[in-house]
Amino acid sequence: MVTLGHFLLFSGLLMAVGLYGVLTRRNLIAVLMSVEILLNAAALAFASAAAFREPHLFAGQIFALFIIVVAAAELSIGFAILLNVYRTHGAVTDDAISEMRG
């Protein structure tokens, strides 16, 4: 039988994948994609918790809904910024945006 534990662990695994992506990807778009995975994993965690734990209000599912929407908004801003980066730096890689340090 599928339990909350299954879903949560799966969500954790997705989080692991997403984090791996965030840390290893050198193209910023790919990083944002990894972030998307993270957000999806979180949404999934909410939704599953709601499905198993909260039979009446489904606040978690609503939360998941919001996450999906907000993630889209986030991505649009992110891409706008990355476009500007591309314009100023000629590339959207982590090498391009490591000038400021120390």
């Binding site: 909350l4 909410f46 980066v85 314009r87 100023t88």
Partner: protein
């Protein structure tokens, strides 16, 4: 009133965003509108102090909300006015900045007023997105886009972690409302819930720039316009700090709570590492970023006591920090407007080129350092008092030692301003009356808060008492 403020700011932002393209040549009009809206919301915030109750289970009305409205509206008002320092509006002729600031402020207010994790999340993102855009606002500014990209990506990671945290807490408690969480969590949260709280703290700490979640801050400050950096250094901080006060007192338990202890640890780390990092900075905005980290560390120390004294200290610290930090960033803005980049090097001899400016700068910098009779000193004093009241001796001692480091790097600024001779061919510095009057106003506020903080304190204490 609270609801009215929310609506006012939301629609104000919309109106500003809509009309912005028509006023590319006359940004002052947008500034005036924005200022008027913020002025109105400030007054309404004062009126909202006696309200109580919850709107749609998500927004709490009450003294603390009112305080948040007032403080954040003040920030908005000042930023709206500060936008006039550059006559041409950021050399880009665009007024969306006012809308973004307004929505950012709205997000901040909702953050404090929130009674629900969903609301909290949305409010957080509202205030975060506006700052992402503000940092990368000038698309031709090399550092600006770099900083915005880093800030945005890290912010997204941070909010993802925050979401995981909330999800875990939700899993354990089955609740998103603060009250429910508090009831379910009880005195000893489970491992999963603790993990959730830890992950949540990453998201919160990220916005407050606590070490080790701080790393975006120096870049973001350095890359942004000084005005934006100023906004960044006060508005999200004010919202988050007060928001954490609410979270701590309503959802995550009393003084013994794990969260408070963690905050103490992060704050201590911020104070220490931030101070070390700041020692050798030569870019003023970067220096100020580290200084913010240190200040947020002090603030976090007060938060970690989870006591009335501590929360009052937090509130006062914020008020003091708003006027001081904005003052300094306005000065930076004014000087950048005069073609003076925000580096120690270019600030050499400023005090001789324009003595009055030197004095104003000194007021802000000394307040940041915590010199008596200025707001910054009392802020620190309150933090120390809170720590003493909580018998947290070790943090107290560490904190006071780091004050010494603070003096070192703040006095480096003063040394450049007053002790160095200006470059040979530097002309007399004269800058706009707007900038001048704003700076004087803020400097007076810094002094006033340092000398006669009593009314403000009483008000703030009443506000935080309400959530205890």
């Amino acid at each position: 009133m609270t609801l009215a403020v929310i609506v006012l700011l939301a629609f104000g932002g919309m109106v500003l965003a809509l009309i912005a393209p028509s006023f590319d040549e006359r940004p002052a009009v947008l500034g005036a509108i924005s200022g008027t809206v913020f002025g109105a919301s400030l007054l309404m915030g004062l009126l909202a102090a006696h309200e109580s109750g919850v709107i749609y289970g998500a927004v709490v009305m009450g003294p603390l909300t009112s305080a948040a409205i007032v403080l954040l509206s003040l920030v908005g008002l000042l930023v709206a006015a500060g936008a006039a320092i550059r006559k041409g509006g950021f050399a880009l002729g665009s007024g969306e900045v006012h809308a973004l600031v307004m929505w950012g402020v709205l997000g901040g207010i909702l953050l404090v007023a929130s009674a629900h994790l969903l609301m909290f999340y949305l409010a957080l993102e509202l205030s975060a997105y506006s700052t992402y855009v503000l940092v990368g606002y000038d698309r031709d500014r090399r550092f600006g886009t770099e900083a915005a990209a880093k800030y945005m990506i890290l912010g997204a990671v941070g909010s993802a972690l925050l979401l995981f945290g909330m999800a875990l807490v939700y899993t354990e408690t089955g609740n998103l409302g603060y009250t429910g969480i508090a009831i379910e969590l009880g005195g000893n949260p489970s491992a999963l819930a603790r993990g959730g709280m830890a992950l949540m703290l990453v998201g919160l700490g990220f916005k407050l720039a606590w070490v080790p979640f701080h790393a975006w801050a120096p870049d973001a400050y350095q890359g942004a316009f000084p005005l934006m950096a100023g906004f960044l250094s006060v508005a999200p901080k004010t919202a988050l700090a007060l928001g954490i006060v609410v979270l701590l007192s309503r959802a995550f338990g009393g003084s013994e709570s794990v969260m408070a202890q963690w905050i103490g640890g992060l704050a201590l780390l911020s104070v220490v590492l931030g101070s070390f990092w700041a020692l050798l900075q030569n870019d003023l905005k970067r220096l100020l970023a580290y200084s913010t980290i240190v200040h947020m560390g002090f603030l976090g120390l007060a938060l970690s006591t989870a006591s009335l004294t501590g929360y009052t200290a937090v509130a006062y610290y914020l008020a003091a920090y708003i006027v001081t930090s904005l003052g300094f960033f306005f000065a930076l803005e004014a000087l950048e407007a005069e073609g003076l980049p925000s580096t120690l090097e270019s600030w050499k001899g400023l005090g001789r080129r324009n003595p009055l400016l030197g004095v104003l700068l000194a007021v802000f910098v000394l307040s940041l350092a915590g010199v008596p009779l200025l707001a910054g000193f009392l802020a620190k004093l309150y933090v120390f008092a809170a720590l003493a009241a909580a018998q947290a001796w070790a943090p107290l001692v560490v904190a006071v030692v780091m004050v010494v480091f603070g003096y070192y790097f703040y006095f480096r600024i003063l040394a450049a301003v007053f002790l160095e001779a200006p470059a040979e061919d530097s002309p007399e510095l004269a800058f706009s009356p707007t900038a001048f009057s704003l700076l004087v106003l803020l400097a007076l506020a810094v002094v006033a808060l340092g000398v006669w903080p009593q009314p403000l304190l009483r008000w703030l204490q009443a506000a935080v008492t309400a959530v205890m």
